[in-house]
């Protein structure tokens, strides 16, 4: 089998203690974003340092007596005292989480995993392609880019959602779109007549993106099929796989590469990912059995 070399982004400083033992955290705020998506702001386990993390990393959130789920950190990496997660209520852990009250306790492990290549991207044009809940793991990256805007070239954010009511972080998207130094495009699958924006698939937006393909880093998160087609479209624009990063959100359990639950080809999504450079995982990207 071909050897896959994995890019390791250094882990955040915030991880202390036994990575297998959840630390108790309380819910500071629960905000409903869309009909099935909500944002939890947690008190960080360490009240002095907060929970430092790299954009793209995730934690394991433990709903006591119920189960544990991997959720990306969606807050601002410059504000580690606010531990923020945006969650879509889909099943046995994430649904009851939606009904939690302020002050309720959860367990948290992490942060885990690799992050978006913010250092490598310095000085380059940035194309972000997000779909649905996939905007959440990219939001810390966007905060970072906007916070250090002069360090990067053109920044384009392309976001696809199912309908206008499903658009995540709508107010923030509007405010980012209002800046002169960021291009924001939102496209939705279908809409009623009161929608004034674009309709179609997010890959359709790539044809109009302004970037210097040879000097661009593209980062994408969303349904795997969307990322696959976005990658092809980026290739057609001249952006090679070595400049494309994807976040693979395979189901996982231990989060430290021991249980094998999230094995993806020869890699583990939890410790070698979730952010991968596309050329490193390309052989497995469209294999049905994986």
């Amino acid at each position: 089998m071909e050897q896959i070399e994995v890019v390791h982004v250094p882990k955040a400083e915030g991880m202390t203690g036994d990575p297998m033992v959840p630390r108790p955290v309380s819910i500071r705020e629960l905000q409903h974003e869309t009909h099935d998506t909500f944002t939890l702001t947690l008190e960080p386990p360490d009240r002095d340092q907060g929970l430092p993390f790299i954009p793209g990393q995730f934690t394991m959130l433990y709903l006591f007596g119920n189960g544990e789920v991997p959720i990306s950190i969606s807050g601002d990496p410059a504000a580690p005292m606010r531990l923020v997660h945006t969650i879509r209520a889909v099943g046995s852990v994430t649904r009851p989480l939606q009904d939690m009250q302020r002050g309720s306790m959860l367990g948290v492990r992490g942060p885990f995993g690799t992050g978006w290549p913010v250092e490598e991207a310095r000085g380059k044009d940035i194309v972000i392609v997000a779909g649905g809940i996939g905007l959440a793991p990219l939001r810390p990256l966007i905060y970072h880019l906007l916070g250090q805007r002069e360090d990067y070239g053109r920044v384009s954010i392309l976001y696809g959602a199912r309908s206008p009511a499903d658009i995540l972080y709508r107010r923030e998207l509007e405010s980012w779109g209002g800046r002169f130094d960021v291009d924001v495009s939102v496209i939705i699958d279908h809409a009623a007549t009161d929608w004034y924006g674009d309709v179609g698939v997010v890959t359709a937006l790539l044809g109009k993106v302004r970037c210097d393909a040879g000097n661009t880093i593209a980062m994408t998160c969303g349904p795997e099929i969307m990322m696959r087609f976005a990658a092809r479209e980026l290739n057609d624009l001249g952006v090679p796989d070595e400049q494309i990063y994807v976040s693979m959100e395979r189901n996982m359990q231990c989060a430290v590469g021991m249980c094998g639950h999230c094995q993806y080809g020869p890699t583990f999504v939890c410790k070698d990912g979730p952010v991968f450079r596309l050329d490193r995982i390309k052989p497995f990207f469209s294999i049905r059995e994986i």
Partner: protein
């Protein structure tokens, strides 16, 4: 006529004409008009004869289907630089959906009957146009298939 308002010039600067010969641009010009639609106006409606197509210069067009009891649904959109409409190439030349200006639209419109006549005179022009329209149709079909998958829906 001067500058940007010159019809030939408007055709030349539109991305859809890139790489076309002077001769073919001239033939297109003979079937073209510069038009403007107010916000809310319809460029065409489902079931009508499809005798035109558009190259959008500015503004946005929503493509819509009326689907009771859901109401009217936007299924696609076109903006500056895009071409809109290929029903004029395919028999029985009838629009499949409505096209409504979501904001004021400035566009070039081409008479499909006129152009089909020119295709018979010069098959190379037909080839040039098909070469541009087929990828459009192909992309649109692929996009529709992805939309059908409802990829952002809950698993």
């Amino acid at each position: 006529m001067s500058g940007i308002h010159d019809l030939e010039q408007l055709i030349r600067v539109h991305p859809f004409s890139q790489g076309m010969s002077d001769e073919h641009i001239n033939m297109l010009k003979g079937c073209a008009k510069n038009v403007c639609f107010r916000q809310g106006a319809f460029l065409f409606k489902e079931g009508e004869d499809a005798e035109t197509f558009y190259w959008i210069r500015t503004g946005k067009v929503a493509m819509e289907l009326h689907a009771p009891p859901k109401g009217t649904i936007q299924i696609d959109s076109r903006t500056a630089g895009d071409a809109l409409g290929w029903s004029w190439i395919v028999e029985p030349y009838r629009w499949f959906c409505d096209a409504r200006a979501v904001e004021e639209v400035r566009a070039l419109t081409f008479n499909g009957v006129c152009l089909r006549g020119k295709f018979d005179q010069d098959p190379r022009l037909a080839h040039e146009m098909y070469r541009r329209f087929v990828p459009l149709i192909h992309r649109s079909l692929q996009a529709t298939q992805l939309q059908l998958l409802d990829v952002y829906g809950a698993n």
